[in-house]
């Protein structure tokens, strides 16, 4: 057993209420979440990453408790060691592409310098794999939509995480690029041998990554 999620959360916006009640245990390492828009997929990923605190329940990864309401355990995001691709990328606007990718490589109080980022072998590797070399010194606002998505993905994958959380990682890419990146990601997952939780609307992704597929509807696994 690798990943077990059992969480409840109530959200309210004006008079609208949304109940999230996700329960599943995944025994494989490649898990796909799919379902209609607004079903609660992204919220689930946020909860696993420690960015959304459920009202109830628990989350366990490899016997390690990330969250347990009853035992009052809630590891901060820093200690969960996840790779997270945000649906809206959340790139740092004040850093270049290379600096964004290198962000997690240094945990100290200073952002990676351009020189450091531009010459770091890991950064260069991902720039190459994701065909981003020319954009190395560009800022996020100077990128196209697909370029941004690739930078966000590279930034998430750079460190060696215990779990990969990817929210529609290829949605802004054309089909040939999408295929190449899917292969890269697949290889990386095999190599790290960590669970991967991926949200997608693309049947090809489901085919590639869906050892276990969960459908989310109205906040529940159905």
């Amino acid at each position: 057993m690798t990943l077990s999620i059992n969480i409840q959360k109530h959200l309210q916006a004006d008079e609208r209420h949304f109940h999230l009640d996700i329960r599943f245990t995944a025994n494989s390492n490649r898990i796909v979440l799919f379902g209609p828009s607004g079903a609660g997929k992204s919220l689930t990923l946020l909860a696993v990453a420690g960015l959304l605190k459920p009202d109830q329940g628990n989350i366990t990864l490899h016997q390690r408790t990330l969250f347990d309401h009853d035992k009052a355990i809630c590891l901060p995001p820093q200690q969960r060691n996840v790779a997270y691709l945000f649906q809206d990328y959340a790139l740092f606007p004040h850093l270049t592409v290379a600096q964004n990718i290198a962000f997690g490589l240094r945990k100290n109080w200073l952002n990676p310098l351009r020189h450091f980022a531009n010459n770091h072998p890991v950064v260069l590797k991902w720039l190459k794999l994701f065909e981003l070399q020319v954009t190395i010194n560009s800022y996020p606002h100077q990128l196209s939509g697909g370029q941004r998505q690739r930078v966000a993905l590279a930034r998430a994958l750079v460190s060696e995480p215990d779990i990969l959380l990817l929210d529609e990682p290829f949605s802004a890419l054309d089909s040939s690029l999408r295929e190449r990146m899917r292969n890269e990601l697949s290889q990386l997952q095999l190599q790290l041998n960590v669970p991967m939780l991926i949200i997608t609307h693309d049947p090809a992704d489901v085919k590639a990554f869906g050892e276990e597929v969960f459908e989310v509807r109205d906040g529940r696994i159905s």
């Binding site: 990453a49 420690g50 960015l51 901060p76 995001p77 820093q78 969960r80 060691n81 996840v82 997270y84 945000f86 809206d88 959340a90 790139l91 740092f92 606007p93 004040h94 962000f103 997690g104 945990k107 100290n108 109080w109 200073l110 952002n111 800022y139 996020p140 606002h141 100077q142 930034r155 998430a156 460190s159």
Partner: protein, 223 residues
């Protein structure tokens, strides 16, 4: 012209220190207030704005009451051989307190305008809360903070009411350019006053221009 350069140097020293102190305390207080989830936080914020509301001379009077030889803090400081009244350090304290709300309010507005998603993105990458502050929060708030810091510098440079009270008007020791200008105007010495006003203005405009150049450029798409 020594009667201009010495006060100018003193003004720069005092305003510089006051700005540094406010950069530190103002930003720290603003960050604390922006993160603090408590109903008391707006109250504390308003109270911290009071140095701006009180007439500087009155503020200076209360500073004198507190930091004077016979004041609570002053008495205690004296045991350590520290004297603030009639010293340039006293002027720094006065200017700092008077200009403090400017950094506080600007920085708090800047902090609260940041997209928390970006801070979350950094946390997920394993960056500690302190490092998130220095690597994400501070750079993204830098425009608003700089606006406050420049205001605070200008205010500290122009401060004279509170300074006059606690630091006095001792030529060469606590007579800042502002106080010198005030004195010249009081003495009916319009020409000297005009020259000093000109020097103050040019100095400040230059410093503000340079500070403006140091500002990070915008990272927004513009065509």
């Amino acid at each position: 012209m020594d009667n201009v350069w010495i006060p100018l140097a003193l003004s720069l020293k005092v305003a510089g220190w006051a700005t540094l102190l406010n950069l530190f305390f103002g930003v720290a207080a603003a960050y604390g207030l922006a993160r603090w989830r408590s109903p008391a936080r707006d109250l504390v914020d308003s109270i911290l704005t009071l140095p701006l509301v009180l007439p500087p001379t009155v503020l200076g009077y209360y500073l004198l009451v507190v930091f004077g030889r016979r004041g609570i803090v002053g008495e205690w400081l004296q045991k350590w051989g520290i004297e603030l009244v009639f010293t340039w350090q006293g002027a720094v304290i006065a200017s700092t307190i008077v200009a403090f709300p400017l950094v506080l309010k600007s920085a708090r507005a800047a902090f609260e305008d940041i997209d928390p998603q970006l801070q979350n993105a950094a946390r997920v990458l394993g960056i500690s809360e302190v490092a998130v502050f220095f690597r994400v929060t501070l750079p993204l708030a830098s425009k608003g903070i700089m606006a406050g810091v420049l205001l605070s510098f200008a205010r500290a440079f122009g401060e004279f009411g509170a300074t006059l009270m606690i630091a006095g008007n001792l030529p060469g020791r606590t007579q800042t350019l502002s106080i010198a200008i005030y004195e010249a105007v009081q003495a009916g010495d319009d020409n000297t006053a005009a020259i000093m006003v000109l020097i103050t203005s040019v100095t400040c405009v230059l410093l503000l221009l340079i500070a403006g150049r140091l500002l990070p450029k915008s990272h927004r798409r513009k065509f």
